[in-house]
């Protein structure tokens, strides 16, 4: 289980998203991924993340992120 929480200022969400997509493709991770992205280039980032839609659960804020993470851990 991995929760990624990015609030982009100088960090750009699209660059983070590209990294996540790349990692999912190369590593085929066995753990579930929950990603919350907000801030600079959020829309571009979310669009890129759809390429890894099978592996990544996208959430809208920290509370949702924690809830989704806990739910997945309890299910596992």
């Amino acid at each position: 289980m991995l929760l990624i929480n990015i609030f982009g200022g100088i960090t750009r969400c699209d660059e983070i998203a590209a990294g996540i997509v790349d990692a999912v493709k190369k590593l085929d991770p066995s753990c579930a991924l929950v990603v919350r992205m907000e801030g600079t280039n959020k829309e571009k980032g979310l669009e890129i993340l759809t390429q890894a839609a099978d592996a990544v659960t996208v959430v809208d804020n920290v509370r949702e992120g924690v809830r989704a993470t806990v739910a997945k851990v309890e299910k596992a």
Binding site: F7, G8, G9, I10, E38, G39, T40, N61, R63
Partner: protein
């Protein structure tokens, strides 16, 4: 009102031809900030998003009357850029890059002190007065205009707080990135009297973290001089000693100096309301504004 920056501020961007400088100059312009010029040595005469580029800060100031400069300059060139801005007489200098060498900042601050120049940063996200202008790299759409002042050593903790304040319908007067390096150019105590005097500000939020003594100094200042409610969050409660946590300046000394506990104790004794989380900051602010 708000403090430090508004729609009348004339902002320079040092390093405007670099990747970050170009991108964030455009973002500042999109927020209606008066970005009057950029500086990159050797690139004078160019134009970036319609903003004229100058070779030196002095030329830029003479041509534009800039009163604030933001440095999108790598850490090892920051000293040079800061010295140039101070020598050119810019009254307010905001510096973005993280990990400026400690000795460089010692020199810079020694020079700045005699001139009255206000240095903000290094490792600052900048300054924003929502609805008016911004000088820095914060994602401006999460901010909204209103009565809460925020100053924070951590950019992310500030964004998260502002995001939830705005969601809750509570706007901000001015938000300042103090920065997380060892030697901050300006700190909480420098801005507290400005927020006390600012008519727009009704509640002051101070987001500190482990390391240094600035929160303790702020506590003493608040006790003596601040009548407005102050809400504080101290990050790093579970940090081990002698290890820097994320920021160079976020480190608890072997004797416990700089611990979250010390800071919270000092702030509580000064009548400051301690928040346990960013969500808690919002709840406490909402109570004061109800």
């Amino acid at each position: 009102m708000s403090i430090l920056i508004d729609q009348n501020s004339k902002v320079l961007v040092q390093g405007i031809t670099g990747r970050e400088g170009t991108f964030h100059a455009e973002q500042m312009l999109a927020y209606n900030t008066r970005v009057v010029g950029g500086v990159t040595p050797g690139k004078g005469g160019l134009s970036v998003h319609g903003v004229p580029v100058f070779n030196t800060v002095r030329e830029a100031v003479e041509a534009t009357g800039a009163d604030t400069t933001v440095l999108f300059v790598p850490p090892l060139y920051t000293k040079q850029g800061l010295m140039e801005a101070i020598a050119a007489g810019v009254p307010q200098v905001i510096t973005i890059a993280e990990h400026v060498p400690v000795h460089d900042m010692m020199n810079v601050m020694a020079c700045a002190r005699g001139t009255g120049c206000r240095v903000i940063g290094p490792n600052s996200f900048g300054v924003i007065s929502p609805g008016k202008a911004k000088a820095g790299f914060m994602a401006h759409r999460i901010f909204s205009e209103g009565p809460v002042a925020v100053m924070s050593r951590s950019a992310t903790n500030c964004y998260e707080t502002v995001f939830m304040l705005t969601e809750r319908g509570i706007g901000q007067s001015t938000c300042i990135g103090i920065g997380g390096d060892m030697i901050p150019g300006s700190t909480f105590t420098d801005f507290l009297p400005m927020f006390e005097a600012d008519e727009q500000t009704k509640v002051i939020v101070l987001i500190g973290e482990i390391g240094g003594q600035e929160e303790e100094k702020a506590a003493a200042f608040i006790k003596a001089h601040i009548s407005k409610p102050v809400v504080a969050l101290i990050a790093g409660k579970n940090a081990p000693k002698e290890r820097s946590m994320g920021h160079a300046g976020a480190i608890v000394a072997p004797d416990g100096t700089g611990s979250a506990e010390n800071k919270e104790t000092a702030l509580r004794a000064a009548g400051v309301h301690i928040a346990e989380s960013t969500m808690d900051i919002v709840e406490i602010c909402a109570r004061f504004l109800a």
